[in-house]
Point group: C2
Chain length 450, copies 2
């Protein structure tokens, strides 16, 4: 317990009082389920670098970084300064700004394969536009996506994200399982679900829908599946299939772009046709982007005689998000990416040591500056292998509560960490020491799982 | 020509140069089609109150207010100050903030019928969540929407937005016309298109799909249809139909909320079950919100044993948008709304005078602080009446170019104005005087239209 206020006893009194007001005006008292925790969420008062101070004055070390979106931690001086300056000049106009051009230039210089870009307001919008653009380009209606993969809240993109043993069906033909009650059957009929990293089954499923698939949607390091990278063979097999079948291979790198200087796609021998971006590229402000091959992006070009995909957005490419995003990404240069990934590698090694010391059947997966704990000895490389049952989820909640309340450490609610450049080796030591204590507490329950 | 720099001759040199860079990195050189204009868009450098200065130093009077989203003009000191303060404390956390609770409390105090709220990042996301929540609550797949109405870029919501005489079909059964090429037929099959403000035909069409309709989606003052309000009888007829058929009546007030202190819905004897919000409630920052009856909003409640509609969003309810939105809406109090609507009424009267003086077959429609010019003598009250053909659109482009380049006045690209509280009677005089000169120039072409 190394955090500054660790001696202070947080009973969350003020958070509890705010939540009591919140339930009167917000459904369930929250506006994002992510922040919900039982019996009530805690409220942030301010944050700086790697630390968030809650409304009762308790400071916590943050490894969640707003669900992986803050790669330089909180209120980074360079971003605050640039945005503060922009605010004086306005936050949105019915006109263009040089900010959107400068940012697009930076992203294309960084990832020359992008060729052309269009900005949106969220990762959800980016994935939706990517799917619509794929349909507009190919003229075909279906998409294929991996069971368990999270891609935001657009119906087609979210199918089977929460599939479980009671409804996922035969692995040779996984069911298209709705996330939201009342999802039209017609949506389910237009989504092909495949098992991530399973070449043979995936290609067989794609073949069965070959003439109708507009795009195969892939998060190369899918957090919700288990935060392990797709194999190069898997990506190559999908790429080759799409070349043969007039379909696009499209990547959702909203989360995974941080993995490498030009995204997780750097690591593969073949590249996606389109990429959806979000999270870190907003520098802490709402953002989404679609990037990819010029000939495909052209469906969005308003200069054409026949515009295939009309698209606008009141706050799209607003100069605040564009400025914050550019400043953040310029600072996240090749050296910064390397340093952060090295820090994450050290963290993973230390946590592997912790697992050995506590002697629990656990493992750790990840890529770049992200990693996740699993309550199983062997690292999963498929969704169904990584799936956590109710008993495991209860242990996770207990561990996360311990980390948050007793160690003043914030992790993502999947027991994952998404690092920021403001974190230090000392912070990593704090994390692994806290996990040592936390895992010892839940060890009897973990042992009973097996 | 009263604007400060009117003697300066803007040739848009710098804008042209930026656009030349833009086409290299952004599809069509823009990230929002709204800002596109031929031969190139102009770029904003800074803005204050009712004025935007472009990158060549030309100041223009702004009646577009970022597509109706800035109700207090640009960089309002109270908003800039509140956001600047928030920036120091961070822009997004994986925790709640009191800002979201304070803002939800304000909106519910303002519109007690809302009962419960959830925030998103854009109007598009708000409408999408509203439709998904309607399906989750009713268990039915279809939506009904008005031909020509704009509701953002979610497939179901955008169908028939751009329907034209070549594809809109029989008025008794309007076709479901895709906006984006490649929209799945299965989406079109789940959307019922009705003619706005036409009770008999609409009810007949709804009846034909009674058992399958989850919600009837209505913008009570649809800008793209022609910016005239739905009649009370129309809204009542839909409301009564939804009560009898286990369906919801849902309003898209992303644009129209500004019409009255508690939205355009104030004016009707019956109220919607759910309302989508956006634009002005963000105070100039990306925002969307879903508000409505607690029993329906409950589908989003993460506390339930069976969560019907899981929903999150990395930047949803971020404290920057929440703070800016609350400050903006608190300033847009009952007196401010009334004053702004009065100013708009004066503007409409003055422009009606201008139309008489120039003696052109034109009219003006609107509601609250919004109005729009039509190139026809009789005010439309149906989409097909308000539809503009190619010749009309060319006149519109010429008039808008004249206003922008010669009078330094920015209007919305549909020849509409959405006022802000920073505008004065003097600004309205400038607008009507400029329109007097502009309409005289295009009069010969307008006369030839009839």
């Amino acid at each position: 317990m190394n955090s500054k206020n660790s001696n202070q006893n947080s009973n969350g009194e003020t958070s509890k009082a705010i939540y009591e007001r919140a339930v009167g005006v917000l459904t369930g008292g929250v506006s994002r389920n992510t922040i919900f925790r039982k019996p009530y969420p805690y409220y942030a008062s301010s944050a700086k670098g790697s630390y968030i101070t809650d409304i009762d004055g308790i400071e916590r070390l943050d490894f969640a970084n707003n669900m992986a979106s803050l790669v330089h931690g909180h209120s980074h001086p360079a971003i605050v300064s640039a945005v503060t300056e922009q605010l004086q000049k306005g936050s949105a106009y019915t006109m263009g700004t040089e900010a959107e051009v400068l940012f697009a230039e930076h992203l294309i210089k960084r990832s020359p394969r992008f060729e052309k870009i269009r900005f949106m307001n969220s990762g959800t919008e980016a994935v939706m536009t990517m799917i619509k653009a794929s349909r507009a380009f190919t003229g075909k209606p279906k998409i294929a996506k991996a069971e368990g993969a999270y891609h935001g809240t657009y119906d087609y993109a979210e199918i089977s994200q929460t599939a479980n043993p009671s409804n996922w069906g035969d692995i040779n033909k996984p069911n298209a399982v709705p996330v939201v009650q009342g999802t039209p059957q017609k949506v389910l009929d237009d989504v092909v679900i495949f098992p991530f990293n399973d070449i043979e089954r995936t290609i067989h499923l794609l073949d069965q829908n070959a003439s109708e698939i507009a795009c195969v949607l892939i998060d190369p390091v899918p957090h919700r599946i288990g935060l392990f990278p797709a194999s190069n063979e898997f990506i190559e097999a999908i790429y080759n299939w799409t070349r043969k079948n007039n379909a696009l291979m499209v990547f959702d790198e909203v989360v995974s772009y941080r993995v490498n200087y030009a995204g997780a796609q750097c690591s593969y021998s073949v590249k996606p046709d389109l990429t959806a971006l979000g999270k870190i590229i907003g520098g802490g402000f709402p953002v989404g982007a679609l990037a990819g091959k010029a000939e495909i992006m052209e469906v969005l070009d308003p200069r054409g005689t026949f515009l295939k995909h009309p698209h606008s957005g009141t706050f799209s490419s607003n100069p605040v998000s564009m400025t914050a995003g550019r400043v953040a990404m310029e600072m996240f240069d090749e050296k910064a990416v390397l340093d952060l990934n090295t820090l994450a590698m050290t963290a993973r090694k230390q946590i592997e040591e912790v697992i050995k010391i506590v002697d629990v059947p656990m493992c750790i997966t990840g890529a770049g500056s992200m990693f996740k704990l699993h309550f199983q000895e062997k690292a999963p490389n498929k969704y169904r292998d990584a799936y956590q049952n109710k008993e495991t989820k209860e242990i996770i909640d207990e561990l996360l509560d311990y980390m948050f309340l007793k160690e003043n450490i914030i992790m993502i609610n999947t027991v994952a960490c998404m690092l920021s450049t403001t974190l230090t080796q000392n912070n990593i030591d704090q994390l692994s020491e806290a996990l040592l204590r936390g895992l010892k507490i839940v060890k009897p329950k973990i042992d009973r799982l097996v």
